[in-house]
Symmetry: C2
Subunit: 245 residues, 2 copies
DNA sequence: TATGACCGTATGTCCGGACAAACCTTGACA
DNA sequence: TGTCAAGGTTTGTCCGGACATACGGTCATA
């Protein structure tokens, strides 16, 4: 322990105390003030210093341990976890991926219509065949280079407008409507591009493309989105980190 | 609430009370005594009935909520979550995938040699260039149909023998040596098969193949395996489920 | 010098209580 | 009949305390 991390608490804020503490520590880890392996002060000292109870301090630390940002050992203390054990917190969207690599996302909305759900779409969305859904097809790009063609189906009452999608990602728009994805199932495969796809993506004929089909559910367990996407395999790959129980 | 779930606690056991409670509820969910959507009795009643304090009851329930087995809403109560919220537990291997679909895995070991690590392999395995590693190349099949060509690099001291690999999966062999993978990072992409690859996989020339590069670490943070794999896109796709924190 | 017992430290488990906030239902009123 | 306010229910947050258990180092002893 060099010097203890400074944490300002606001007891008038509606944000719970434990969350304020956790956010402060998380931020310190993220920007390097707390490097991997760094030992934190112990719970008792932390609680005393901040003027909170030990259970509250523990609640803050436990959340960070659950995210894999801290590791704790009895008799030893609490330290910052190695970077590779930290689990991602959000379902990533293409916009997030690009932003992380410092690339500029772009969107051209190719189609935005209401259609009756076909058999496949209805099954994926867990609705009756023929129910009206909004179909959105977008050409996504990074630094003005075409990257993917995305086809999404959404329940009519939560679908973003074409204007929204031109400036923001689909998941951001959904979050803005208070529908936060909680679970998603995705299937990743590959095939050869059709002539039309190759043209749109600026690829040679019969190039390999990555395919991804994804269904996303919110916390109520209802489907908020189903999409089938095609990515240029020459410019994009899926990068995931997995953890054991 | 039909009838309350019967839970027997053993206060002399070294197993914490909250864990005994959580296990009992988890088992009841697993075998269907508590179906999805079922409302549990409230925390206070549960604690009183079992003779434990409310914080202890909450700790049990919180663990199950974190695993996605229960959902709670203030003013409403605690319910068993929809089935799809239950998280998968393990890093999956090909053998696991095939077993889940009831297909018979097969392995032909094409190569099993000691080689000095090249620049790419050394970087991925976090070792010095030129260090001796074991290279293993296998042709994997399902129901006698070729499915993938897998190339793995392992630290020499933990590498399974060719005989082991003929009958069991790589991860099983590593687990058998006490090296359990804890984290893995994988990159999934696609490209066209080379002529030799197409021949091995029984695919037409210039077919699309899925590529996967994976690095796995154990609980100490040391690399236990690095592999680059090629899958027949016509017969295989990656199926993953994602969750938000 | 090597080894084992001891002890301080830090987290793990558990208890009891109090108030706040969100949710649903009910009933009164327009 | 429709709507809004009130109240009861349930989980969320926070406090204070107590003892248990695992870890690591130190010190005394063989």
């Amino acid at each position: 322990m060099a010097e203890p991390l400074r944490i300002d608490l606001d007891r008038t804020s509606p944000v719970p105390l434990y969350h304020q503490v956790a956010s402060a520590i998380e931020a310190a880890i993220a920007d390097g003030r707390l490097p991997p392996g760094q030992l934190l002060e112990n719970e008792i000292a932390l609680a005393a210093r901040l003027g909170i109870s030990r259970p509250t301090a523990r609640q803050a630390l436990r959340g960070l341990v659950d995210q894999g940002r801290l590791v704790r050992r009895r008799g030893v203390g609490t330290q910052v976890a190695p970077a590779r054990f930290r689990r991602p917190v959000e379902l990533t969207s293409l916009a997030d991926d690009l932003a992380r690599h410092g690339r500029e996302p772009g969107t051209r909305v190719l189609e935005h219509t209401v259609v009756p759900a076909g058999a496949l779409v209805a099954a994926a969305m867990e609705i009756d065949e023929g129910t009206s859904v909004v179909l959105i097809r977008r050409l996504r790009s990074a630094d003005d280079e075409p990257l993917a063609v995305m086809t999404n189906y959404l329940p009519a009452q939560i679908a973003p407008t074409a204007d929204e999608l031109a400036t923001t990602g689909l998941y951001d728009a959904l979050r803005h409507r208070g529908r936060r994805p909680r679970t998603a199932r995705q299937q990743i495969g590959a095939r050869l591009a059709t002539a039309a796809e190759a043209r749109m993506l600026d690829e040679p004929a019969r190039a390999a493309v990555l395919t991804m089909a994804r269904t996303a559910w919110d916390e109520d367990g209802s489907v908020i989105e189903y999409g089938t996407h095609i990515y240029r395999a020459s410019r994009y790959q899926f990068d995931t980190t997995l953890f054991t129980g």
